[in-house]
C-alpha cells in the first residue's frame, strides 16, 4: 500500500484503518482524485483504462473528501470516528435529510464513517450534534 501521500495517510488515520487491512492494495492519484485498487489493477498497462478500482477520495485545494463507495468497502476496518445508526436514519440521510446524533465523546467533528447493523454505509459530515449526508443520491434499479 502506497501511503506516502499525507492526504491519503491522514484519511486512513482519521478512521483508524490499520495498514494490514490494505495489504495488496495500492492508491494512485489521477483525474482530481485518488483511486484504490489491487496492485494488479494499478499496474495494468496494456491499454489505457477508463477507470482503475474505486475512487478513494476527491482532491480539493486544501482538503480531500473520502468517497462513499470506497468507505463502504474499506469501512469495515475502521476503528475511529464511526457512528452507528438505525436503518431509518440512514434512509433519511440518503433522502437528503440531516439527523441529530449524540455520538460517543471520542467521535470528533469532521468526516465520520456511518455504520448500520455492522455494515459501512459511507461517509457523513459531523458537527455535533448535526450529521449531514455525504451519501450520493440513490438511483434504484429496475427489477
Amino acid at each position: 500500500m502506497k501511503r506516502a501521500d499525507p492526504r491519503v495517510r491522514g484519511l486512513l488515520e482519521r478512521f483508524g484503518v490499520p495498514a494490514e487491512a490494505l495489504a495488496g492494495l495500492d492508491v494512485v492519484e489521477g483525474q482530481g482524485a485518488f483511486f484504490i485498487g489491487t496492485r494488479e489493477v494499478m499496474t495494468f498497462d496494456a491499454v489505457r483504462p477508463l477507470r482503475r478500482g474505486i475512487r478513494f477520495c476527491r482532491v480539493f485545494p486544501r482538503s480531500v473528501k473520502p468517497t462513499t463507495h470506497a468507505m463502504q468497502v474499506l469501512g469495515r476496518h475502521a476503528t475511529r470516528n464511526v457512528i452507528d445508526l438505525e436503518r431509518e436514519q440512514v434512509v433519511g440521510l440518503i433522502n437528503g435529510e440531516q439527523v441529530e446524533v449524540d455520538a460517543p465523546a471520542a467521535v470528533e467533528d469532521g468526516y465520520v464513517l456511518l455504520r448500520v447493523d455492522g455494515f459501512s454505509a459511507g461517509v457523513g459530515l459531523y458537527r455535533r450534534p448535526v450529521l449531514k449526508t455525504q451519501l450520493p443520491r440513490y438511483r434504484p434499479v429496475e427489477e
Binding site: R51, I54, V73
Partner: protein, 312 residues
C-alpha cells in the same frame, strides 16, 4: 399457447419449434414473467446476513448456488441493502457463466463484453476482490451502468476499458487465466422480461450478430494464456449465434479443447448437433443450452473452451 406467446413473430416460433425438444412447456415459460432473483455480494456480506436483511421479501435460496436467492416480493432495488451493495439484482441464468468459468483469487480475468457488469461484479467477488478483472465494453452509454455497479459492489480488482473487444485483445494477447465472452446477441432468451426484444428480431439481425460474435469469440481465445479457459455465452436461442459460433472457433483453432459445461443441481440441455443441414464439429456437443422451463430462468447458451498448454 398463451396470448402473449401468440404475439411472438411467427418465424421466431417456427424456429423455436425446430430447435426445442418440448415446445409447449418451453413456450409457456417464455411467456411468463421471470422470477425475481438476487445474488449475494460476498465482497460485502454473506448469505446469512443477506437472508436476514431480506426477511420480509420472502427469500428462497436456490439449490444450485449458495449465493443465488429468489425473492417472493418485489422492491429489493429500492432498499437499503441494495444501496449498501450487499445484494445485486441479477437474473438466475446470468449467474451461470461466471460459475462455469470458475475464476479464482489472484487470477487475471478478461470480461470482454462487460456492461452493465452483472458478471464482472460476480467474477470480482468469486476472486475475493483480488487479482485483476479487465471489464471491457464498447458502448459509452452502457459503461455508465458498469462504473456504477462496480462502485456499489465495492470491486477493488476491476479495470474498466472502453474498446472494441477485438482491438483490446490485439494489445493484450495471451495474458489471461480466464476470459468471459458474454456476447452481444439478439436476446431471444430474455423475452420473459420484455417481449419488446422481439420488436428488433429478424434473420438479418441474427446473421449480423453471428458475424460479430465470431470475431469476439476468436479475440477471447487469443486473450488466453496457454492452459487458460474461456466461456462463450449468449442469452439467445438462435443456433447461428451459439453452436455455429463455437463450431467456427473449433475449426479455426483445432487444438482448442471444448470442455463439458456442468453445474451440479442445475438442469441444462444438449446443444443442437446440426442446423439448416449443417453438422457442427463434434466438440460442440459439450456446450449446453439453458431452457426457461428447466430452472425457471431465462434462456442461455454456454460453451467452455480451453487453450491447451502446448499446441498439438
Amino acid at each position: 399457447m398463451t396470448r402473449r406467446a401468440a404475439e411472438f413473430p411467427g418465424r421466431f416460433l417456427d424456429r423455436c419449434r425446430a430447435m426445442v425438444p418440448d415446445f409447449e412447456p418451453f413456450i409457456d415459460s417464455m411467456s411468463r414473467p421471470p422470477r425475481r432473483t438476487v445474488r449475494v455480494n460476498t465482497i460485502k456480506a454473506n448469505r446469512e446476513q443477506v437472508l436476514g436483511w431480506l426477511r420480509n421479501l420472502d427469500p428462497q435460496p436456490l439449490d444450485w448456488w449458495e449465493n443465488a436467492l429468489a425473492l417472493g416480493q418485489p422492491g429489493v432495488g429500492k432498499r437499503l441493502e441494495h444501496f449498501l451493495g450487499l445484494v445485486y439484482v441479477q437474473e438466475a441464468a446470468s449467474m451461470v457463466p461466471p460459475l462455469v468459468l470458475g475464476a479464482e483469487p489472484g487470477e487475471t480475468v478478461l470480461d470482454l463484453c462487460a456492461a452493465p457488469g452483472s458478471k464482472t461484479t460476480q467474477l470480482a467477488a468469486m476472486m475475493e476482490n483480488t487479482g485483476l478483472v479487465v471489464a471491457n465494453d464498447y458502448s459509452q452509454a452502457r459503461l455508465r451502468g458498469l462504473v456504477g455497479n462496480v462502485d456499489r459492489a465495492g470491486c477493488l480488482n476491476v479495470v474498466i476499458t472502453r474498446m472494441d473487444g477485438v482491438a483490446l485483445v490485439r494489445n493484450w494477447p495471451g495474458s489471461c487465466d480466464r476470459v468471459l465472452v458474454d456476447a452481444p446477441c439478439t436476446c431471444e432468451g430474455t423475452v420473459r422480461r420484455s417481449a419488446r426484444v422481439l420488436d428488433q428480431w429478424s434473420l438479418d439481425a441474427i446473421a449480423r450478430f453471428s458475424q460479430l460474435q465470431k470475431g469476439l469469440a476468436v479475440a477471447g481465445y487469443h486473450a488466453l494464456k496457454p492452459g487458460g479457459t474461456m466461456v462463450y455465452s449468449t442469452c439467445t436461442l438462435a443456433p447461428e449465434e451459439n453452436e455455429e459460433v463455437v463450431d467456427y472457433l473449433a475449426r479455426r483453432f483445432p487444438e482448442a479443447e471444448l470442455l463439458p459445461v456442468e453445474l451440479p443441481g442445475f438442469r441444462m440441455r444438449q446443444p443442437l448437433a446440426e442446423w439448416n443441414g449443417r453438422r457442427f464439429a463434434t466438440g460442440v456437443a459439450n456446450c449446453r443450452r439453458i431452457l426457461p422451463q428447466d430452472n425457471d430462468t431465462e434462456a442461455f447458451f454456454l460453451a467452455l473452451i480451453r487453450r491447451p498448454i502446448e499446441a498439438r
